[in-house]
Amino acid sequence: MYNLESLKSQLNQNASTSVQLIDSSLQKLEENKDLNAFISVLTDEAKAQALESDNRRQKAALHSEIDGIPIAIKDNLCLQCSKTTAASKMLENFVSPYTATAVQKLKDAGAIIIGKTNMDEFAMGVSSGSSYFGPVKNPLDTSKDPGGSSGGSAVAVAAKIVPLALGSDTCGSVRQPAAQTGIVGFKPSYGRVSRYGLIALASSLDQIGFFTHTVRDAATALSIVAGLDPKDNTTIDAKSDFSEKLGESLEGKKIGVPKEYFGKELDPQFKTQIEATIDLLQKNGATIQEVSLPHFSYAMPCYQVISTAEASSNLSRYDGVRYTYRSSEAKNLNDLYSKTRGEAFGEGVKHRILLGSYVLGADAFENYFIQAQKMRTLISEDFDKAFETCDVLLNATTPKAPLAIGESSSFTESDIYTVSASLAGLPAISIPCAKVGNSPVGLHLTGNYLQEAELLSIASACESIIQYQA
């Protein structure tokens, strides 16, 4: 067993020191170097912090229950004095002058960041293959991609380099790679975790999420990181104990199954496994109920309009004037912009900037951006209706197994089942439930807004019923 809980007990029972945990993490990282899960490794810093943690332990002055535990963070999370690249040539040499709130909370709790993980460039993608630093490989099958965009963080946990990694999820970028690497991936409600210091893709959708081996570990991580942040105007002031309902049975829990999520895009073998899981849960006391989310098929186009619009504006700051890459060919101001951005952004990023600029333009605004906003409201209302009768909604996290590295395009459909929860700002979690060949199948559960405790409780119950074997 390798997870947050087990490492905690090792430390608590003096079976291991933080220094030993960090050493073994770094060793594991080295052994798995070919997976290309990390952009930077913070060896010296991590070792020094481990020593400090062990000292605290001796003095019984631990900062929290996860003090001394190795973790990894996605390279779009700012960490003071460290390179924060978002896997882009644009930020190849950007050293952040400040630390993201979520990262700071983990540091304050004594967690030790061993490195920053690889990802799709600016979190745009579903394969982690668009990184300027090369593609990430799936540890279950190194010819396959691990999903994305937080593929590096998923791999860091799946390969047991660390028990917890932070990712970011804009339309499935935590849940989808978790599903494809057979681990737990959890995205809280929009506003639950501060985005301060998270390099923005689409600000109204971005949310920091967690990769762990167990649902309980995800609850632990959320408890540390959640909360109102005076530096993020969109955070919610709603205190909650995310572990309090863990251990409850499925008895009386109402699980809704949206019928639109079982269309022809769903791999028949995946479908079989999900249906088998539904039966299993029903046998264990859950009430299963078919529901409808009628605007399902509009979710992806709606997402593409909103996310590219916001991204095109968010990425305007990378202009060659201050901290970014700067083209050496520029002869004038327009040159500086076009050459810098032309040379340093990858194809997928340019693609989205063009699309986003178009939908925000005066001629297209009402036909695209406004329509997408209206659709977003309708999608939210679909969920509101479903949650009148259900505690959570269940579907497959991805419609099919991961593709071979390099096959995934900029707009592959592997996040069609995760995007709606992002548009509605709802908490959602992927837990592994079965395997099709070498590929794990992710079970996706969506909770009602700010009902993380209930979602985690049901996910945890499912987890213990399913007994997934990696």
Partner: protein, 484 residues
């Protein structure tokens, strides 16, 4: 001057007088080391987020209420996207929406009143007031290799006040700008100093052949930074447009600037070159929900505004409308007068002293009225001493000069210099008789009815008394002796 009728609207940008920036905690400070007051937020670093400054919002609401606007209790922030090296994030956060559902500036639908030369007042509509952040500054003359960027000004809170096209002459435009500047000062919302650039104005102007004709094609003249430039630029543009229309040349909607040296308006860009700013709601800031109670509290704590103060000065101090106008143009002057007038036996005379003496002296002082050593109470006392006939008006001028110079009270100066007016008839009669004795011939002429020579005697007597003799009594005694 022209057979055409101008239609003018103004856009006035003012810097809010907050201590910190609109979306971060950095200090608002000019004339300091370049890039001293910056953080990840106002530098547009990856991952930084904006958090609206409550004080700035309060100031904007206060301004809205002072301009009789409706306050939007669900105001929205929006992004205006464009590339320029002084704009770190590649967009400016403002409050403009392209469609009504997304256009929620903090305040709209207000009005102000201006006083025209003929004594009438005219109401000018305020379309909207929206908040936005300022950009940084590029410095081009620091080195030959390139331009340099100073981000101190990035994120400074601004309000843009847009008027309705209700203004009908450049002179009215100046009155509107003056009134808004006055209100900005009175409310403390902005220092409204045009020389320092914390207030500037764009003028939208078109002309038409008659007062009820449809509006003509307008030009927008950017960045007018003084009252006289506003007036001159508008006049020049009216002339330009008139000549074009006379020659049957079509006008094109465009953005211009005013060349002060050549007294010409110059096109910056035509309508075709107008940028698409791709406005959309700022996803990082929630709607600006303002509690109606909070708005009422701001309304109830609004300071006295210039119109009300002017009226009060006329009503309670019995001064002329003109004096009240002059005394209320600047908040500082009005407060100075107000403080002095409550302690003064004759506010009318006090008003004269301030307008014709004090303000003239202050004009050339760097610090303005606040650098004057004389206190309002001391000037009130000086006027009281004249009223009491303790000193003459002439002596008062000497005392006034000394007060300005040293800041001493009038009583101290009068005592030190022995300037108390001599009003004792016995003492004065002695002086008068002395002067008559020395000028017998002239006195006989005066006695025989040559009234014009009286001035000579008064002058002589005043000189003999060192200016201290009460001129009224001197006159009486002269007449009395003449009749003896």
């Amino acid at each position: 001057m022209s057979k055409y009728f101008p239609v003018i609207g103004l856009e006035i940008h003012c810097q809010l007088a907050t201590e910190t920036k609109l979306f971060c905690d950095c200090k608002v400070e000019v004339n300091t080391l370049a890039n001293k007051n910056v953080c990840e937020g106002c530098l547009g670093m990856p991952g930084a987020l904006p958090v609206p400054n409550k004080k700035a919002v309060e100031y904007a609401i206060r301004l809205g209420l002072a301009l009789n606007c409706e306050i939007d209790s669900k105001a929205m922030w929006a992004r205006k996207n464009y590339f320029y090296p002084d704009l770190p994030s590649g967009y400016q956060v403002t409050q403009i929406g392209l469609i009504p559902e997304l256009d929620h500036p903090i305040a709209k639908k207000g009005w102000i009143e201006i006083e025209l030369d003929d004594g009438k007042t005219k109401r000018v509509g305020i379309t909207r007031i929206h908040m936005e952040e300022d950009a940084g500054k590029l410095v081009h003359d620091l080195s030959p290799e390139g331009s340099h960027f100073d981000a101190n000004r990035c994120g400074t809170p601004l309000c843009e006040i847009v008027t309705e096209p209700d203004i009908r002459s450049p002179q009215e435009a100046v009155l509107v700008l003056q009134k808004i500047k006055q209100i900005l000062e009175y409310t403390g919302v902005s220092n409204a100093n045009m020389e320092n650039g914390n207030m500037r104005c764009d003028g939208n102007i078109s002309i038409r052949p008659s007062e009820d004709a449809p509006f003509g094609v307008r030009s927008e003249i950017k960045n007018l930074n003084s009252f006289s430039n506003l007036e001159k630029a508008l006049e020049t543009e009216i002339l330009y447009q008139s000549i074009a229309l006379d020659a049957k040349q079509p006008l094109e909607q465009c953005t211009k600037r005013y060349d002060v040296v050549k007294n010409k308006t110059v096109v910056i860009r035509s309508k075709e070159d107008a940028l698409d700013y791709k406005y959309f709601p700022e996803p990082n800031t929630a709607r600006l929900i303002t509690d109606p109670k909070c708005i009422e509290e701001i309304r109830n704590t609004l300071p006295e505004l210039p119109d009300a103060r002017r009226k009060r000065f006329i009503d309670s101090f019995d001064i002329t409308a003109y004096d009240a106008h002059v005394l209320t143009i600047e908040k500082e002057v009005s407060e100075w007068f107000d403080e002095a007038a409550t302690k003064c036996k004759n506010p009318k005379i006090l008003a004269n002293w301030i307008i014709s003496e004090l303000l003239r002296e202050v004009k050339d002082l760097d610090g303005g009225l606040s650098s004057v050593k004389m206190t309002p109470i001391d000037l009130a006392n000086l006027v009281n001493l004249i009223e009491d006939k303790t000193i003459s008006g002439k002596i008062a001028k000497t005392v006034f000069a000394e007060m300005l110079e040293t800041g001493k009270t009038p009583d101290t100066i009068i005592q030190e210099k022995g300037l108390v007016q001599i009003s004792d008839p016995v003492a004065i009669e002695a002086m008068v008789r002395e002067v008559i004795a020395a000028n017998q011939v002239q006195f006989e002429e005066f006695k025989s009815g040559k009234a014009s020579i009286k001035g000579f005697f008064v002058g002589q007597i005043m000189r003999a008394s060192g200016g201290k003799a009460n001129p009224g009594i001197v006159n009486q005694i002269l007449d009395k002796i003449a009749k003896e």
